[in-house]
Symmetry: C2
Subunit: 343 residues, 2 copies
Amino acid sequence: MTMSNTAGRRKPPTIHDVARVAGVSRGTVSRVLNGGHYVSPAAQEAVNAAIRKTGYVVNRHARSLITGRSDSIGFLLTEPQEKLFEDPNFNVLLRGCTQALAAHDIPLLLMLAGTEDERRRITRYITAGHVDGVLLVSSHSGDPVAEELREAGVPLVQCGKPMGLGSKVSYVAADDRDGARDMVRHLLSLGRRRIGVVTGPLDTPGGVERLAGYKEVLTDGGVEIDERLVVTGDYSRASGAAGAERLLERAPDMDAVFVASDLMAQGVLSALRRAGRRVPEDVSVGGFDDSPAATESAPALTTIRQPWDRISSEMVRVLLAQIGGDDPAAVILPTVLVRRDSA
Amino acid sequence: MTMSNTAGRRKPPTIHDVARVAGVSRGTVSRVLNGGHYVSPAAQEAVNAAIRKTGYVVNRHARSLITGRSDSIGFLLTEPQEKLFEDPNFNVLLRGCTQALAAHDIPLLLMLAGTEDERRRITRYITAGHVDGVLLVSSHSGDPVAEELREAGVPLVQCGKPMGLGSKVSYVAADDRDGARDMVRHLLSLGRRRIGVVTGPLDTPGGVERLAGYKEVLTDGGVEIDERLVVTGDYSRASGAAGAERLLERAPDMDAVFVASDLMAQGVLSALRRAGRRVPEDVSVGGFDDSPAATESAPALTTIRQPWDRISSEMVRVLLAQIGGDDPAAVILPTVLVRRDSA
DNA sequence: TTCTCTACTGTGAACGCTCACATACGCAGG
DNA sequence: CCTGCGTATGTGAGCGTTCACAGTAGAGAA
């Protein structure tokens, strides 16, 4: 990393310049910059005018050097990174977090830890205090990064419920179980009784919880659980198609499928079409996520909307609170059933 | 932005600690950290051992304060941000840039400038010198951000050829025109003669260039340009469907379509299906991008692959070179025709 | 020897900011 | 009158680096 100084950019004004122009001291300028307590209205105004006039922008490095915080936070993805391309939710989340942080004037550092090497590098970077906190996307269980960061005392908020022991780590998640309940209840209300399910990976809380909601509602509704109607996918489109094929093979009388993600549901739709089943006439299909893909499929997917915009803003809120000294917190947000054509 | 210091994180070791442990001075440690010139092998080794022992990580803020560079770069998206969700290429690009930078130990700051407010805030942030350079994604013409940053002397690399006057701004782009040529040549080789085109927005270089390639090959091949076979889309799936409908209406004898993006091509495929045309029997369809969507559609899309991984790494290379003092550079990378089922 | 040159090492200053402290100015109460 | 207190302001120190400069030591040349 060798970068020489760039020619043609002139030195930006410092707090000193502002103080001189405003006719006050550095201290007063600094106080105005940091909330304006103990500053007379006259000085306040003079400083603000001087800031406008000089075009002053605070030098965050100098500030960080003394405050010990970086005023920046990391967005860390430890999933294998193909997920980045397959899952549209990731985009919504990343955008939401970036904007929520921007509102606090905090830059977001994007960190991708696909390989072991990257993981080590990033862990060092974070624990060295170069970010004040971390927004973590990592649904798989046993992720050592989360544990390592937690032990190092780095403020941390996970997206989605962590699997491990209820270790004291903050997280924000949609109510997976309740969303699944809503969908399966909806399928029941349509008169369906042979309801299949394509779950997510069962080492992810989303996979487990959505399956649990499915079983709960069926049991409560007096429908017996048939394990032939339960298959596991990995949230990919292909695994959805494969899952549907397996379901049709094991339970040809299936009249509905609850699919734990929209992407998988797209695969399910293709497989059903190939098998000659009409959706929703022969088989109702319910997805999960309300991703953009949901409206693009034919027929449009009935699905469970996860409130991604709220998830991202809550993640940021919880993280900043934790950085401010609050205890870790768990936030679970309600989902919404979105009725379209597939069920 | 108020963040109190977090409890429970202890002070990281400084260059002083390393020097003490290694039995040398700060200066020597600093020299080892910055390339190790004029350091004896013995001192070198002692310092490295001390670094390992103490777990020292350089404090980038202190370094930046004196060097005047931030050793971080910004990834700036000025497109309306729905593009972020619709366009899978964006993901590939973002990931590629992050990783290419990671190899240089440079963090990437994600900046989204959707609104006017955000634009101003981000421009201030950048011109204040808080990043050493900017990777810019902004295909629309007349983007004032690019101009503003250029005037401020901020090293800048655009993704895609900028529209404006050949102003001296670096960019990295795929060879749009040549890619279009390849595809249309391919369609001609299949015996198609009534070849329609759904272009991108004509205020983007991609839109213009791909259309130019299309016209070039037809003219060279002795096929007369029929303006009824030319419609303009906006890279969205919906605009592809609408475009195909308009084409069919104006030229029912169309036997092929070159679509300027895979996403639009998906819309075209749906529209053709709805109109009862078989692909590729009745109408051949050629896309552009080779996005993940290309293999997911039915039939799988014949398309032009843009070398996104190389685009991102070249963007980073060019930007770092420019930060190092090099002149702005333009890089144009070759595309590849990927034959699948749709043509 | 003495002088120069090269390779290496240590030291003080400075980067731009915040924080703790000192100070100054009313204005109340004793 | 002095004391005390709350508000408002200025000042010095120091955050952890790098950089320029001043050395030091040893080798080779005069």
